[in-house]
C-alpha cells in the first residue's frame, strides 16, 4: 500500500476532491498547513508592505492500494495544476500495514 501526500492550493481543493471521487478514491484525510516554497504572496499591513512565502495550503493524506497509485496521482495533477508557481507537490511513500479500527481487519481490503 502507498501513502500519497499531496500539498495543493486551497482554492483547488474542491476540484481535486471531485476528480479523486471520479477515479474512485473516496477515502482520505486533509488539513491545512503553511507552506514555504517558490511562490511569494504580497501583503501590506498598516503601510508596511511585505512579501511572504509562508502560504496556506491544504495537505491531503491518501492511503491507497498499489493499483490505485497511478490514478490517484494523475487525478491530483490534473485537477490541482494551474501552471503558476506554487501548485504544490506530491510525495509517495510506502505503508507497511493498515488497520480498520471498527472491525480490526487489516490489509488492502480496509481501503475499499
Amino acid at each position: 500500500m502507498k501513502k500519497i501526500e499531496a500539498i495543493i492550493r486551497k482554492s483547488k481543493f474542491s476540484d481535486v476532491k471531485k476528480e479523486l471521487h471520479s477515479v474512485g478514491v473516496n477515502f482520505f484525510s486533509y488539513w491545512d498547513v503553511t507552506g514555504l516554497g517558490n511562490e511569494k504572496e504580497g501583503h501590506v499591513y498598516r503601510g508596511v508592505s511585505y512579501s511572504t512565502s509562508d502560504i496556506q495550503r491544504r495537505y491531503l493524506s491518501i492511503v491507497v492500494n498499489d493499483d490505485f497509485e497511478e490514478a490517484t496521482i494523475s487525478a491530483i495533477m490534473k485537477a490541482g495544476a494551474t501552471g503558476a508557481v506554487g501548485d504544490g507537490k506530491i510525495f509517495v511513500s510506502t505503508v507497511d500495514e493498515v488497520y480498520r479500527i471498527r472491525t480490526g481487519e487489516k490489509g488492502g481490503q480496509t481501503l475499499k
Binding site: K10, S11, F13, S14, W31, D32, E41, G42, H43, V44, Y45, Q56
Partner: protein, 402 residues
C-alpha cells in the same frame, strides 16, 4: 440624541451579523464595505441628501419631481448656518444625524446580500449614488412631505419598514439577480449550505441590532413623548421576541433542528415588520405581526433559495418581505386599520418598488457593462480579503474552510 447613538450602533450590529453569516475569507472585505458605508453615508447625506429629502415642497411642486433643483444649492445653507434652535426639543442637527444614519442603513442591507462576490469598487460607487441620491428622493415622497404624504389617506410608515428596509431590500433583490450566486451555492440546481463562520458574532450582531431598534423606533417618535415612546418600545420588543420564537419553532418543525440563524433572522423580521406601525399597535397586535413575520422569514429564506437567488445573510427575506408585510400590516391591525389605509399602504409599497427596482437596475447594469461587478473566479475562491485587501482577518488562527 441617544437614539442617534443607538441607530449608529446598529451599524456595528449589521457588520457583525454579516461577517458572522459569511465565510472567513471575505471578512475584511465585508467590514471594509460596512465601515465605508457609514462614513460616506454620513458625508453624502450632509452634502446633498438631507436637502434632497426635506426639500420643503413649498413651491407648489407635484411632490414627486419638484425636488430636483434643491440638491445643489441648499447644502450651502446647511453648512452656512449655525442656527441651533431649528425647532423645539428636537434640533435640526440631531435630526440630520438621525436621518444620515438611516440613509446608511439602506445601503448596508444591500451590502449583506451581495457579500462574498461583488467587487468593492463598483459597490462603493453604487453606495454613493444610492445613499446620496436615490434614498433621499425616495424618502422625500413621504417624510419630506411628498406625494405619498399628501394622499387622501396618507401612506403611513412610522420608522421605515418601507422607506428604509424595503428600499434596501429591493436594491438587494435586484443586485442579487444581476450578480448571480456564489460559486458552489447551487450544485445541479439544488441549493447548498455555505455555513457562516462566526455564529457568536452574528448573534451579538442581532442583539446589537435589537438594541439599535430601541433607538430606531424610539427615536422616530419625533415628539419624544414618553408615553408613546415607551409603548413603541414595548411593541418593538414583543414583535421581535415573537418573530424569533415563531421562526425558531416553525423552522424546527420544518427541518427538525433548532436553527439559531433562523431564530436570529426571525427576530430581525419581527423588528422590520413592526417598524411601520410601532406606535399604532397594541401589544397583542405586535405579537401577531411579529409571529407572522417569523413564519414569513422561514418561507422567505426557502423561497429565495428556490428562486436560485443567493442571499448569504437573508437580507431579502428579512428586509424586503418583512418590510412589505409590516407596511401592509398598518392597514390591517392597530389604530389605523382600515381599507383606505390598506390601499394607501399598497400604493406606497408599489411606488417604492418601481422606484427602487428601476433605479438599482440601471445603476448596477451600467456598472456591470462598464467596470464589471463581480470578482474573478480565482479571487472568489481564494477570498476577497487576500485579493482586494491583502490582509487576513484572523491571522493567528488555522483555518479549515473549503
Amino acid at each position: 440624541m441617544i437614539c442617534t447613538a443607538l441607530v449608529f450602533f446598529m451599524h456595528l450590529g449589521f457588520a457583525l451579523l454579516e461577517i458572522g453569516l459569511t465565510r472567513q475569507k471575505n471578512t475584511i472585505n465585508i467590514l471594509f464595505k460596512n465601515i465605508f458605508i457609514i462614513c460616506t453615508g454620513l458625508l453624502l447625506y450632509c452634502l446633498v441628501g438631507f436637502n434632497l429629502m426635506y426639500p420643503g415642497f413649498a413651491d407648489g411642486a407635484s411632490g414627486f419631481f419638484g425636488f430636483a433643483g434643491f440638491g445643489i444649492e441648499a447644502p450651502m445653507g446647511t453648512d452656512g448656518t449655525l442656527d441651533l434652535s431649528y425647532n423645539e426639543g428636537y434640533t435640526y442637527w440631531t435630526d440630520f444625524l438621525f436621518q444620515g444614519m438611516f440613509a446608511a442603513t439602506a445601503a448596508t442591507i444591500v451590502s449583506g446580500a451581495v457579500a462574498e462576490r461583488m467587487k468593492i469598487g463598483p459597490f462603493m460607487i453604487f453606495t454613493i449614488i444610492y445613499v446620496g441620491v436615490i434614498y433621499p428622493i425616495a424618502g422625500s415622497w413621504k417624510w419630506g412631505g411628498g406625494f405619498l404624504q399628501t394622499l387622501e389617506t396618507p401612506f403611513y410608515d412610522f420608522a421605515g419598514s418601507t422607506l428604509v428596509h424595503s428600499v434596501g431590500g429591493w436594491a438587494a433583490l435586484v443586485a442579487v439577480i444581476l450578480l448571480g450566486a456564489r460559486i458552489g451555492k447551487f450544485k445541479d440546481g439544488k441549493p447548498q449550505a455555505i455555513p457562516g463562520h462566526n455564529i457568536p458574532l452574528a448573534t451579538a450582531g442581532v442583539l446589537i441590532l435589537w438594541l439599535g431598534w430601541f433607538g430606531f423606533n424610539g427615536g422616530s417618535v419625533l415628539s419624544a413623548d414618553p408615553g408613546v415612546t415607551s409603548l413603541t418600545l414595548v411593541t418593538t420588543c414583543l414583535a421581535a421576541a415573537s418573530g424569533g420564537v415563531v421562526a425558531a419553532l416553525f423552522s424546527s418543525v420544518c427541518y427538525k433542528n433548532l436553527d439559531l440563524t433562523m431564530f436570529l433572522n426571525g427576530i430581525l423580521g419581527g423588528l422590520v415588520a413592526i417598524t411601520a406601525g410601532a406606535d399604532q399597535m397594541r401589544p397583542f397586535d405586535a405579537i401577531l405581526i411579529g409571529s407572522i413575520a417569523g413564519i414569513i422569514i422561514v418561507f422567505g429564506v426557502a423561497l429565495v433559495d428556490k428562486l436560485k437567488l443567493d442571499d448569504p445573510v437573508g437580507a431579502i427575506a428579512v428586509h424586503l418581505v418583512c418590510g412589505i408585510w409590516g407596511t401592509l400590516a398598518v392597514g390591517l391591525f392597530g389604530a389605523l386599520a382600515g381599507f383606505d389605509q390598506l390601499i394607501s399602504q399598497l400604493i406606497g409599497v408599489a411606488s417604492y418598488a418601481v422606484m427602487c427596482i428601476s433605479s438599482t437596475f440601471i445603476i448596477i447594469l451600467v456598472l456591470k457593462k462598464t467596470v464589471g461587478i463581480r470578482v474573478s473566479e480565482k479571487e472568489e475562491m481564494e477570498g476577497l480579503d487576500a485579493h482586494e485587501h491583502g490582509m487576513d482577518a484572523y491571522s493567528d488562527f488555522r483555518l479549515s474552510e473549503d
